[in-house]
Subunit: 447 residues, 2 copies
């Protein structure tokens, strides 16, 4: 029995007859020889056959001798046909990976597993992608087969694994919380409304309330799941569904304990990308950042002074300026901006002791883009009641949430990281839609 | 600086002065001594103090001497108060874990981090839970603090980690797919309708179409995420949102290659529960199953013959009967039932070669309950067109899905495992709502 060998493993099988299965990535026909480039999940394999003329002559001879031809004539097979090829692994410095498959004595053995019924909207085999973003997205079930377009998702998968591994090592428990909620509380705007057995309900914008409540149970929790924002604006860095990497932990002194966990999570993510997705890193030329032992930080008030402004929030251009400063000053591609004004943070944010106009919160900038938001939360029931009253909000829609704080909650805080943004920045993609599988936005609900 | 030590780590610190932080689980006052049982995420710690009378006397003396009292009087502190206790770790065979904390010379140092504003709906400190399920669910932000009620979620977290680890080792790529879809295709019924920027949309009942399409990109993919079913029936084993562990792989011979992956995933899950959640296993008395090297299987037609029936599907009682048979006959708590009639399987199911009324599909029964559904799928575009035509369905709502098959897809298959059901069966819970955080059903949308 001849077993399937993956492209990256072929060099360990020189001299053996093996089967390679995958998609016919590219066929190159020369006069006396035909190259089939076969793509599997690990990479490309070059298979070498007699040229088309040779094949026809052989097949004619076989038919004259009453033998069955070797299946479909190879020069009729279009790209993206799914095939299995049995050949002898042969060293060749010119071939990708230093080996190629040579048709065994007796002629090539190619089995067609599935034939395409149409031509892809872009040529999967070309080294670079020139197709427009809409073309890529409309045809994503096939366009993502292009190695440059699928590589970001290998980086994403590795990143999530690194995130989970780092938090597991720190004693966090993974949770899975409801995506459907009874009231549109957290921001009040940009929620998707739902028909829940005849009653109104909403898609959760974050697992915020659930993860805080679970600090009361597990102290340290994380969730890696979808969140939903009915973003009415159509920008390159917003999606209606994205994957949020959320963490929350109890028994902190303040937001700096949360920032220390952010640092570990980022270090775990970068290490996992290097370890688990080296091919994607190389293919895309990703420059992996170094995560400093201590990520530099700047207080919002100092940032405003440096920028010569007096605003309640940072504009995207300010974020870029601050990131450049951190790179220049500290050699760091990461920067914490702490102490955002309370007026710009959610009601559950803990104020800065002694300067109550500022908060014990932070954003993490990565290469000029806001990647993470986090901070210390209120933990006392009476503080929640006061915070809601100060904003003129009733406690009634928050009853389920507030019940956790009625029963003794430790000082705690947490953060959320937008996974697609992380990969976008890492791969220097120009649009978040290149790092989301089947993105959903104002205009896009299919495929 | 005195650092926090977790309950399970205390025995390594005998003789040291340490801080233990957590919830006041239980206070027991004897005449001359008070025991505080402190609960943290790893377990319970016993702290020993002078009795209440002694404390008052000490505090009065201090006040007379002009000193500040040691915070709140300890016998006023109710259960579920969040406290930090500084004491000397002292060996005591009678104490949980063989050690206890003794108040240092100079009196107890207890800091109250947060006081409860209400009494929990059930006593967290009692060894067993007698509260009704609605009481538990209504108060879950606090009732889940009961170790018996939180333990199932430790098992769930460990199980998912084991699932991912097993599939990572087999070359699978993790994906994150849309939970909002443009057409209610897969079953047509039991979908939640959504307002998508003024257009109708639906919550995804499974990542089926997406994971199949991604076989064309990554060959082997998995997703661990929420799925949504607008179940109009209120049973102990259905939820409106649950966590689906989904996998799909290409280049298979038939459904048996999928079943082999199921076996590896289950083995990984059981091993991870044993390794990562031993305390929960012990607390709940969970008997972890042995996953046989090869899980026994029975064809649907043979199962019907054995049951003396001629039905198109198995009733829950049949599943129990078959599970008992597998345990008796093979000593296995797992059983694959293969070859379900095509009429009872989705249109994308691959028929059994030679017996087209049966399918290359399977269910996995675990201790009498259907836990996993899977099988081989169609992979040729023309087969999809024919299958939809045979069911009288138009291809139009499936265009995005079918486009993957238009471009060459390998033979493939996959499976889905209901995570909450797995933990339910493992912990022998009487209701799926005990293994879902904040369950959602026909009647429950909060907390």
């Amino acid at each position: 029995m001849i077993h399937r060998v993956l492209a990256t493993d072929l060099s360990a099988h020189v001299g053996e007859t093996v089967q390679v299965s995958g998609w016919l990535h590219r066929r190159r026909e020369l006069k006396r020889v035909t190259f089939l480039i076969i793509r599997d999940r690990t990479g490309l394999t070059q298979a070498v056959l007699p040229g088309a003329g040779e094949q026809e002559r052989e097949q004619e001879q076989e038919q004259q001798q009453g033998e069955q031809p070797h299946g479909q004539r190879l020069h009729d097979i279009p790209e993206e046909t799914v095939i299995s090829f049995v050949g002898v692994v042969t060293a060749n410095d010119q071939a990708p990976g230093g080996v190629e498959l040579v048709a065994p004595a007796g002629g090539p053995q190619v089995e067609v597993l599935s034939s395409p019924a149409a031509t892809p909207p872009l040529d999967i085999y070309r080294p670079t992608v020139t197709a427009s973003l809409p073309t890529i997205l409309d045809g994503s079930p096939v366009t993502l087969r292009h190695p440059h377009l699928s590589a970001p998702f290998q980086i994403t998968a590795a990143s999530v694994a690194g995130f989970r591994g780092a938090l597991d090592a720190l004693g966090f428990t993974e949770i899975h919380t409801p995506k459907i909620v009874g009231s549109a509380t957290e921001s009040g705007a940009n929620v998707f409304a739902l028909d829940w057995f005849g009653h109104p309900a909403y898609l959760a914008q974050s697992p915020q309330f659930f993860k805080q409540a679970m600090v009361g149970v597990f102290e340290r929790v994380y969730e890696t799941g979808p969140v939903f924002r009915a973003e009415p604006s159509d920008t390159a860095r917003h999606l209606a569904q994205y994957t949020s990497l959320d963490a929350e932990l109890g028994f902190i002194q303040d937001h700096r304990d949360v920032m220390a966990v952010v640092r570990e999570a980022l270090a775990g993510m970068v290490a996992a990308v290097a370890e688990r997705a080296p091919a994607a890193v190389e293919l895309l030329g990703v420059k992996l950042p170094t995560v400093p032992e201590k990520i530099p930080e700047i207080h919002f008030s100092e940032a405003m002074a440096m920028l010569g402004q007096d605003e309640p929030d940072l504009a995207p251009s300010d974020e870029r300026t601050l990131s450049e400063w951190a790179l220049r000053e500290f050699g760091s591609e990461f920067l914490f901006v702490t102490g955002y004004p309370m007026t710009k943070r959610p009601f559950y944010t803990h104020a800065e002791p002694g300067r109550p106009q500022y908060s014990n919160s932070f954003d993490l900038l990565f290469r000029g883009l806001e990647l993470i938001t986090g901070g210390q939360r209120l933990h006392k029931y009476e503080d929640y009641v006061a915070a809601l009253a100060a904003r003129g909000e009733s406690t009634e829609p928050y009853e389920g949430y507030l019940s956790a704080f009625r029963h003794g909650m430790p000082p705690h805080g947490g953060f959320a990281l937008g996974l697609e943004r992380w990969t976008m920045r890492l791969t220097e993609a120009d649009n978040l839609r290149r790092t989301a599988l089947f993105p959903r936005d104002l205009h896009r609900l299919t495929p």
